[in-house]
């Protein structure tokens, strides 16, 4: 007996509730943009400049006492968060202290760090500082520009690749799905105020890659079925293709999620935000390749005279790899 995530043969109509799913996606995207506009992102020092100090002590973290100790130093905006991880145990209490970039300085001065460290030692004598990181405003501005450029460039490169391999309608569908995924991920980060740093950009790009992977597999089947069933209604071709690839879609999402969840639970607190972004991205990416990319393809329609032997039509001349 084999484990089956979905029945061997499915014949589900994925477009019966097209208005609903499409509408839900639109609402979610608008909500994400609103969350981004109203709440903003909780940028880490990579993007905002400033200093983070990780502290570790055998005594329980008293955020109030830490704050009181640091107020006297007049460092401006100071955020103190306690860090939890199942792997820590009662003897290990970790907190993250974030200090805003100081006026007129590129990176933090040794004196500031020494002052913060000795102030915290007053509160918890055995405190240690496993990591101290400081980024100047000059670099953080550049990092944010590079990050936005990276995401935009990735989406553009994909647009071109899919356009060459398929047709422009596929390209638009895939890119709409990508924008959907990236927007929803940013929305979740804004909503829960999870720290948004450079690693999250890597996660975003991975989501772009993963979501695309999924979309391309469906599209590849659509292209094949369009050639095979020349007279079939577009909606049916799409439904057939999604149903045929559904088993694979679920299998791959499942194995990927399995690996990511292991990392989320056991991988330590340092990369938890990064892994969370990817888990969310896998879920959203799987959804979007069916309900966003294919929906757009249905709305835009597609040229129907695909022929396997290739008549030099747009998109097919680069698609010979499979013939």
């Amino acid at each position: 007996m084999r484990l089956k995530l979905v029945p061997q043969e499915t014949n589900w109509d994925f477009f019966r509730a097209a208005r609903l799913t499409f509408g839900a996606s639109l609402v979610a995207m608008v909500a994400s943009l609103l969350a981004f506009a109203v709440l903003g992102l909780n940028f880490g020092i990579d993007f905002r400049g400033g200093t983070t100090i990780r502290t570790e002590s055998t005594q329980a973290v008293d955020v109030g006492a830490y704050r009181d100790a640091l107020v006297a130093l007049e460092l401006g905006d100071v955020t103190i968060t306690e860090v939890f991880d199942p792997g820590f145990g009662p003897e290990k209490n970790v907190a993250q202290v974030r200090i805003q970039a100081q006026d007129g300085q590129e990176s933090v001065t040794p004196e500031t760090i020494a002052a913060v460290e000795s102030a915290l030692q007053q509160v918890a004598p055995d405190i240690t500082f496993p990591s101290v990181e400081s980024v100047g405003p000059k670099v953080s501005g550049e990092l944010i520009r590079t990050a936005v450029l990276a995401v935009a460039l990735a989406i553009f490169a994909v647009l071109v690749y899919i356009w060459l391999r398929f047709e422009w309608q596929f390209s638009v569908g895939a890119v709409a799905a990508l924008i959907h995924d990236v927007t929803l991920t940013v929305g979740v980060f804004a909503l829960f105020q999870i720290k948004f740093d450079l690693a999250i950009i890597a996660a975003l790009l991975t989501i772009v890659g993963y979501s695309l992977n999924d979309t391309v597999v469906v599209f590849d089947r659509v292209r094949e079925n369009l050639r095979r069933y020349k007279k079939m209604d577009m909606k049916e071709v799409l439904n057939l293709s999604i149903n045929e690839t559904l088993s694979r879609t679920m299998m791959t999402s499942m194995t990927t999620l399995l690996a990511l969840i292991a990392l989320f639970v056991l991988g330590g607190d340092v990369i938890r935000g990064f892994v969370f972004a990817m888990i969310w991205g896998v879920v959203v990416g799987t959804y979007s390749s069916v309900f966003v990319a294919s929906n757009i393809l249905l709305i835009l329609g597609v040229k129907r005279d695909w022929s396997a032997d290739g008549d030099g039509g747009a998109g097919t001349q680069f698609a010979k790899v499979d013939s």
Binding site: E106, V135, T206, T245, R248, T256, V270, V321
Partner: protein, 553 residues
């Protein structure tokens, strides 16, 4: 299609085996690391029994390349520094003043008396008393120009000379500025490297980044502060003529002169000529020592050119004081009692032994041509790195087992084939990482775990396709053949698009993010290879041996 030629089989097996062989050293990380260190130590130093024992702990004929651990896993310090390239322009102009002065004095009859004016940094301004002879002055200055040597060949002149009323203005030309910037960065890189090497840490990364930045990563060093103290000191040593001594910090030093504080005595200042007689660049050696009173000091030796310049100056200025200046502070200002012709000398000051040792190191390594500003600094403690590695290992193993069980439960025997391919896949990722000397970072570990999850995708695509083909197929062999054939385009398209994003991450990312892009990209290559070739080889071999009438998938 199902027949795989013998040479292909052998090539596949050979690739897999060499990938795994390259990965092998990582399983014995500390032993191989000890071996590598010992080999290096024996090459540079001598042979000791301990080193030999350490070296022989790992056989020399096995590969010994290791995956470098990034700073976030090993602990250490990271600095991003910006070099103030403009500093050099100012130094160049100050250095040019004596030459220009002599050239203009030769034309005294026409241009009259000359006087250096205060000017913005990087410019040299000279007022002449007979503005009507400005053309002569400009010509005299232009005669001092040398061709500017850039990477693209010999450009125009290295200086720009213009006049403003009765003032002659000299500055570096744009082409020369570019060429200077490049030299400044190269020189800074070299000096930072020498200073870090003097401390003797393992595998520091020192690279140029962009036009005027240097990235420095040193594993194993205690903190970014220590590293900054080591490389952030300019260590510019100069010997300047003393004009006068004062206690007034606001006294106007006059053009071409500079007011500098004494390093020890508060409230004592010296007015010095800006142009140095000799500088640290003329040194060939510096060693910590003790002076005749048993105080820590630093002895130094000039190169022949430096010795000649210094000797000549001391001959001409017996009885006059000169100042030893380090990073804009006067260490001491002794009076020249007799000409110093031997080309060596001693710096005494209120040093501790550590001070004199560090000063000697800095002088030996050379001065930084320009000041560095630190834009980014990170310290990661070794324990935090070790925790991250441990957590990453546990998570990887759990992810691995989860995926293996899941694949087996879903596809049975074929799932097992895919699982073997997955093991090979991860082995090959490590092999490739070691072979290209890539750095593994914490996001990189996440990349590997993600690859574990995604690597089975290509196999899943094939297996699902075989299942479909089985429904309409003429026998299992044909179904498998068709399955591979038809899944290929989806596999390639899906992986190429993911690879594009990994490539963009690699180009634009830095540090840990780049590490993630590397593992993700390599993971895509190895997973496509294992799915298309390795699993297929296993399935085909199994089909040949068993010749099953039906297969269950």
């Amino acid at each position: 299609m199902l027949q795989i030629a013998l040479w292909k089989r052998m090539a596949i097996v050979a690739l897999v085996l060499s990938g795994l062989a390259l990965a092998l050293p990582n399983a014995f990380y500390s032993r191989v690391e000890g071996h590598n260190d010992a080999v290096r130590a024996i090459e540079t130093g001598g042979v000791t029994p301990e080193l030999v024992a350490q070296r022989d702990a790992w056989p020399g004929w096995l590969p010994s390349g290791l995956v470098n651990l990034g700073l976030d896993l090993r602990g250490g310090a990271h600095l991003l520094a910006e070099v103030r390239v403009e500093d050099v322009y100012a130094n160049r102009m100050d250095g040019m003043w004596p030459e220009l002065r002599d050239a203009l004095r030769d034309k005294r009859a026409q241009v009259g008396t000359i006087r250096r004016q205060d000017a913005p940094p990087g410019e040299l301004r000279v007022r002449i008393s007979r503005p009507e002879a400005m053309t002569t002055a400009v010509e005299a200055a232009r005669a001092l120009a040398r061709p500017s040597v850039t990477l693209t060949g010999v450009g125009g002149s290295d200086i720009e000379v213009r006049s403003l009323g009765d003032t002659l203005i000299v500055q570096l030309s744009e082409a020369e500025k570019l060429a200077t910037d490049d030299r400044t960065i190269q020189q800074s890189l070299e000096i930072v490297r020498r200073r870090v090497d003097e401390v003797g840490t393992r595998e520091p990364t020192i690279q140029r980044q962009g036009a005027d930045r240097i990235l420095i990563q040193v594993p194993g060093i205690g903190s970014a502060e220590e590293l900054k103290a080591l490389i952030g000191t300019t260590a510019r040593l100069t010997f300047n003529p003393v004009v006068s001594r004062t206690t007034n910090p606001d006294e106007a030093p006059g053009a071409g002169n500079v007011l500098l504080p004494d390093i020890e005595a508060d409230g004592t200042y010296y007015i010095l000529e800006k142009a140095a007689v000799v500088s640290g660049e003329d040194l060939t050696d510096a060693q910590p020592a003790f002076d005749q009173n048993g105080q820590p000091s630093v002895t130094f030796r000039f190169d022949p050119a430096g010795a000649r310049k210094f000797g000549q100056y001391t001959v001409e200025n017996v009885g006059q004081p000169f100042a030893i200046v380090l990073d804009d502070e006067v260490i001491s200002a002794p009076v020249i009692r007799e000409p110093i012709l031997g080309g060596s000398g001693q710096i005494t000051g209120n040093f501790t032994v550590e001070d004199s040792t560090q000063l000697a190191v800095l002088l030996r390594a050379g001065a930084l041509p320009a000041e560095m500003i630190f834009l980014e600094e990170r310290t990661i403690g070794p324990e935090l790195g070790a925790d991250s590695i441990a957590a990453g290992q546990v998570a990887s193993i759990v992810a691995f087992v989860g995926v293996l069980v899941f694949m087996w439960a879903s596809y049975g025997l074929f799932g097992l084939f895919a699982n073997i391919a997955l093991l090979i896949n991860v082995g090959m990722i490590f092999g490739l990482l070691s072979a290209i000397g890539a750095t593994l970072t914490l996001p990189g570990i996440a990349g590997i775990v993600l690859t574990i999850g995604m690597a089975v995708d290509a196999n899943v695509l094939v297996f699902e396709r075989i299942r479909e083909e089985l429904k309409s197929a003429r026998g299992p062999a044909r179904a498998i053949e068709l399955g591979y054939q038809k899944a290929l385009s989806a596999i390639l398209d899906a992986n190429i698009t993911t690879f594009i994003t990994a490539a963009i991450l690699f180009m634009l990312g830095s540090g840990p993010v780049r590490g993630f892009a590397v593992t993700l990209g390599l993971g895509i290559i190895t997973s496509v290879f294992t799915a298309i070739f390795v699993t297929r080889l296993m399935i085909v071999t199994w089909l040949d041996r068993r010749r099953p009438k039906t297969i269950s998938l």
